[in-house]
Amino acid sequence: MRLKNLKIIITCLFAVLVLGLGYLQIVHGSYYQSLSVHNCIRIVPVEPNRGRIFDRNGIILADTLVSFDIMVIPQEIKDKEKLFSFLSGVLKMKTKTLLDLYQRRKLASFAPVTVAENVDRDQAIVLEENKFRFPGLLVEVRSKRSYPFGETGAHVLGYVGRVSPERLEQFKNYGYTIEGMTGYSGLEEHYDHFLRGREGGVQIEVNNRGQQVRLLGMKVAAPGQDIGTTLDARIQQFSQNLLAGERGVILVMELDSGEILGMVSSPSFDPNAFLDNASSQRRASYFTNSQAVLLNRAIRGQYPPGSVFKIPLAMAALNTKKLNEHTSFLCNGSYVLGNRVFRCSHVHGVQDFIQAIAHSCNVYFFHAGLIVGPKIIEEYAHLFGLGALTNIDLPYEEKGNIPRSDALRQRRWSKGDTLNLSIGQGDLLVTPIQLLKMMAVVARDGKDVLPSVIKSIGKSQVRREAVLHDISISKSYFDKVKLGLRGAVAEEAGTAHVSSLSDVVVFGKTGTAQTSGGKPHHAWFVGFCPQAKTRIVFCVFLEHGGSSYHAARMASELLKEMKQQEIL
C-alpha cells in the first residue's frame, strides 16, 4: 500500500532531522557554544577610494567624488524617537521612512546602519555639528564614481559596479569581495587592478550582545592609483558631437607614438547610470537596446573594409613586382567575369596605378587582384595587421576575419571571390582600430606601431611594449601608394576631395562597403596628416552611413576643429 511507503519516507526524514540536530548540538555543540558565548571577532570592511582617470592634459575623465552617508549605530542610540525626528527634520524625509529603512537594514547592534545616502553637503554639516547631542549618529564620508563627460567616450572608460559572482570566483584571492566595486569594460576593467586600491577593514571584538568591546586592529584602505591616458578630452567631445545621432566610430592616433588621442563609438551610454539605483531602468535598457550601445565599435565592431582594402593589395602588387606604377588598365565602368558583371563607381577610362588609388577604381583593382592572386592578397592583409588583434590596452578586442582561399567550407574559391576580396568585400571583416593601425603602418613606411591608451599609472610614466613586426618593403613603394592617397584628397576628382583643407596636408583612402539586406552601405574614411604639428592618423567609420563622402566630410570637420584648437 502506498500509504505505508509515505510513512517510511516521513520517518526516515524525521530521523535525518534528529541526526542533523544532534550533529549541531551534541557533536559540534561546544564549538558553537564558544562562538556565541566567548568574544567574537568581526571585520567591518572599509572601501578604498578608486583612482581617477585623466586625459593627456590633466582633465578629469572619471572622478571620485565625496559623498556623505548618514549612519546610525544601534547600540549607541540613547533616544531613538528624538534622533529620528531630528534626522527627518534635517533630511526632509518622513520619520517613518527613515525608521523603516533602519529596521530593514539593521544587522547587528554594533554594525552601523545607513539610513540616508548621498546627502547634501549642508545637511551633512548640520548633522556633523549635532553629533554630540545624538549618540549613535555617524556621518560617513564615502567615495562615489562620477563621469563628468557622461556619454562622451564612455566606451574607452567603461563603468564600475558591484563585483559579479563570476568575477568574484575568479579574483577571490586578489582581495575582491562581494560588496566591493570593480570596473567593467574599457579602462575601468583593463586597469582595475591599479584603480581599485586595496580594501581596508576594522577588526573589532564583540561580546555575545553584539556590542563592540574593543578595537583589535585596523588596516587602512589603500586608495587606488590615478591613471593618465593619452586621450584628449577636446577631441573626444568634438567627435562625440559629430557622431551624435549616427552609428559609427571616430578614432584619432598619434602617428609616431601610437597614442590614442580620440576614440568614440556611437551610440554611447552614460556610465553614471551604473552608479545609482534611480537609473536602474536606463541601465537595463542598455542591455536590451537593439542598437548595442554598450558595444565599443572601435575595437569590437567587425565590418567589411570596402575600398580601404585596396591599400594592402596595392602594396602587394608593387612588392611582388606583378605591377609597377606605370601599369595601366582601361576602366569602362564594369568588369565582366563569365556571366557576372562587377561594377565600378564611374567610367574612369585609362587609369595608371596612382590614379587608380586616388579614384578608387574598382576595375583596376579587379585586374590587379587577379594578377596577384588570393593567396598573396591574404598574406599582405595579415602583414598589415588585418584579421589580428592590435593589442590595444582595452578588453574584449575582436579579431575580424580574413577569408582563406584554400579553406572554404562549402565550395571552391572562385575568381569572383578574388574580385570581391580585391575591393574589400565578401567575407572580409576588420575592426576600425585595425584599419587605423594599417594606415599608420603605411604612413610610417612599414614601421609597426602599438596603439595604447595608457600614459601613466600613479606617478610613473608607462610605456607599453610588444613584439612589433616591421614590414620590410622598400620605401619607394610606400611613396607611390602615398601619392595615390594624397591624390584621393588633393585632386579634384579624388574620392575624398571634400576633406581637403587649405592648411593641413591630408592623405587618405575612402571605402564604401556594401552590406547585405538592402541596408545603406558602410562608409569609411581612413587617413593621416604627416606634416602637422601633431602627426596623426585617423579613422572615421559610419555604420550604414551611406556613401564614403559622409565619412570624408565628417573627417574634414574634425580636422578643421583640431586645427582651430591648435592641436594640429
Binding site: 509515505l6 540536530l21 549541531l24 548540538q25 555543540g29 558565548v37 544587522l107 547592534s109 562581494i178
Partner: protein
C-alpha cells in the same frame, strides 16, 4: 502500539501550539526588532484557532467535496488579484487585504489545491493501480489535467515571488498523484523532467534567491549579507547543546543576532533555548501527530476523504521537514513556515482548516 488516536491528536496539537507560544514569547521579549504585539496576536488567534478546529471537526467533511472546485476557483482568482490589488512586504507581493485583514492567498492555495485534486481523482479514478497494473494508463486525464490544475497557481505563486510555497505546491501534486495511484512510470518521467528543468528555474529566479542557493553551498562567501542568517541560525542551535540555555536566556535570540526568528527561523530559538531535548520533544510531538493522522486516513474507506487526508498530512509533514532542514543548514533557505509555531495568521489558519477536516474525517468513518 495501542493508544487513543483522538486523544493523541488533540493532545499533540495543543502541546505544539502552547509550546509555540512560549517560544514566540521569548523571541519577541526584547521587543527591539520583533514587537511584543506579535506574541499577543498569536495568542489571540491560537485560542481562536483551537476553537475553530473544534467547530470545524463537526462540519461534515464531505461538504468540502461539493465546494472543492469553488474554493479552488476563488483562490486562483485571489492569486491573480494580488498582482493588481496586493501590496509589497519584504520584497514580494504576497498579501491582499480583505475586510481589513491581511491574507496570503498562496498559503490557502495549499488547502484548496489538495481539495481540488482530491475531488478530481475521486471523479476520475486512475485506471491503472497497484491492483490492476496492466490497465492502459490514460496520460491526459490521469496526469496532464491534474498537472495543469497545479501548474497554474504554482506559476502565480512563483511570480510573487514565493519560491518556498511554489515548491510546496509542486510537492502537493506529487503526493496527490502518488496517493491516487497514478502510474509510477508517469511519476518517474515527471520527476526526471523536473530535474532537467532545474537550469531553467535558475534562469527564472530572482537574484536574492540565487544568492540564497549559492550561500547554502558556502555560507562563508557573504557572512554579513545573505549568509548571515544561516550562520547565525547554526550558531544559535549548536550553542544550545543538550539542555539549552533556558527559556528567555538564548543569547543569539535575545541579542538580535537572528533575523526572522519569529517566523521562518523560530526553530533556531527552540534549539538555542531548549537544547537537543527540546528539539527532540517538539519533533516527537510533530511525529506523533503525523503518524496518528495517517492512521486515521489509512482506515478511511471513502476516496475523497482518503485523498484529501493524505494531502493534508503530507503537506504538514513536508513543511516541518523543509523548515527544520533549512534552519539546520541542511537545505537552502526558502521561505517556509513551521506549522502552528511560526508567527503568521494565514499559515496558522490553513492548518486549522486541515486538522478540522482530518478530525471530522475520523469521526465520520468511526475511527475517532
Amino acid at each position: 502500539m495501542v493508544y487513543n488516536l483522538k486523544k493523541a491528536i488533540w493532545a499533540t496539537i495543543i502541546a505544539i501550539i502552547v509550546f509555540g507560544l512560549l517560544v514566540l514569547y521569548s523571541a519577541s521579549s526584547q521587543s527591539t526588532r520583533v514587537s511584543q504585539q506579535v506574541f499577543y496576536n498569536q495568542l489571540f488567534f491560537s485560542a481562536l484557532g483551537l476553537l475553530a478546529i473544534f467547530f470545524l471537526s463537526r462540519v461534515d467533511y464531505r461538504k468540502y467535496y461539493d465546494f472543492a472546485y469553488l474554493f479552488y476557483g476563488i483562490n486562483v482568482f485571489l492569486l491573480i488579484a494580488i498582482f493588481i490589488f496586493g501590496y509589497y512586504a519584504l520584497g514580494a507581493k504576497r498579501w491582499i487585504e480583505i475586510l481589513g485583514l491581511n491574507f496570503q492567498p498562496s498559503e490557502f492555495m495549499k488547502f484548496s489545491l489538495i481539495l481540488a485534486l482530491a475531488r478530481y481523482f475521486t471523479d476520475h479514478k486512475p485506471k491503472i493501480s497497484f491492483y490492476n497494473p496492466w490497465a492502459k494508463p490514460a496520460l491526459f486525464s490521469e496526469f496532464i489535467i491534474p498537472f495543469m490544475l497545479t501548474a497554474f497557481p504554482m506559476l502565480l505563486i512563483f511570480k510573487q515571488p514565493d519560491l518556498g510555497t511554489a515548491i510546496l505546491v509542486l510537492g502537493i501534486f506529487f503526493v496527490m498523484v502518488f496517493a491516487a495511484g497514478v502510474s509510477a512510470r508517469y511519476l518517474a518521467c515527471f520527476f526526471g523532467l523536473c530535474v532537467l528543468a532545474t537550469p531553467l528555474l535558475w534562469q527564472m529566479m530572482k537574484s536574492y534567491q540565487r544568492d540564497r542557493l549559492m550561500v547554502f553551498l558556502n555560507p562563508n562567501i557573504d557572512p554579513l549579507g545573505a549568509g548571515y542568517t544561516i550562520i547565525q541560525s547554526k550558531i544559535a542551535i549548536g550553542s544550545g547543546q543538550l539542555f539549552g540555555k533556558g527559556w528567555l536566556a538564548g543569547t543569539q535570540n535575545q541579542l538580535n543576532f537572528l533575523p526572522e526568528r519569529h517566523t521562518d527561523f523560530i526553530f533556531s530559538v527552540i534549539g538555542e533555548e531548549w537544547g537537543f531535548i527540546g528539539g527532540i520533544a517538539i519533533l516527537a510531538c510533530f511525529y506523533i501527530l503525523i503518524i496518528s493522522s495517517l492512521r486515521v486516513v489509512e482506515q478511511t474507506k471513502e476516496t475523497f476523504g482518503y485523498l484529501a487526508g493524505v494531502g493534508f498530512v503530507s503537506i504538514f509533514a513536508l513543511q516541518i521537514i523543509i523548515n527544520i532542514a533549512m534552519v539546520l543548514g541542511l537545505c537552502p533557505i526558502v521561505g517556509i513556515t513551521l506549522p502552528f509555531i511560526s508567527y503568521g495568521r494565514s499559515s496558522f489558519l490553513v492548518f486549522v482548516l486541515m486538522f478540522g477536516f482530518l478530525i471530522n474525517l475520523g469521526k465520520k468513518n468511526k475511527i475517532l
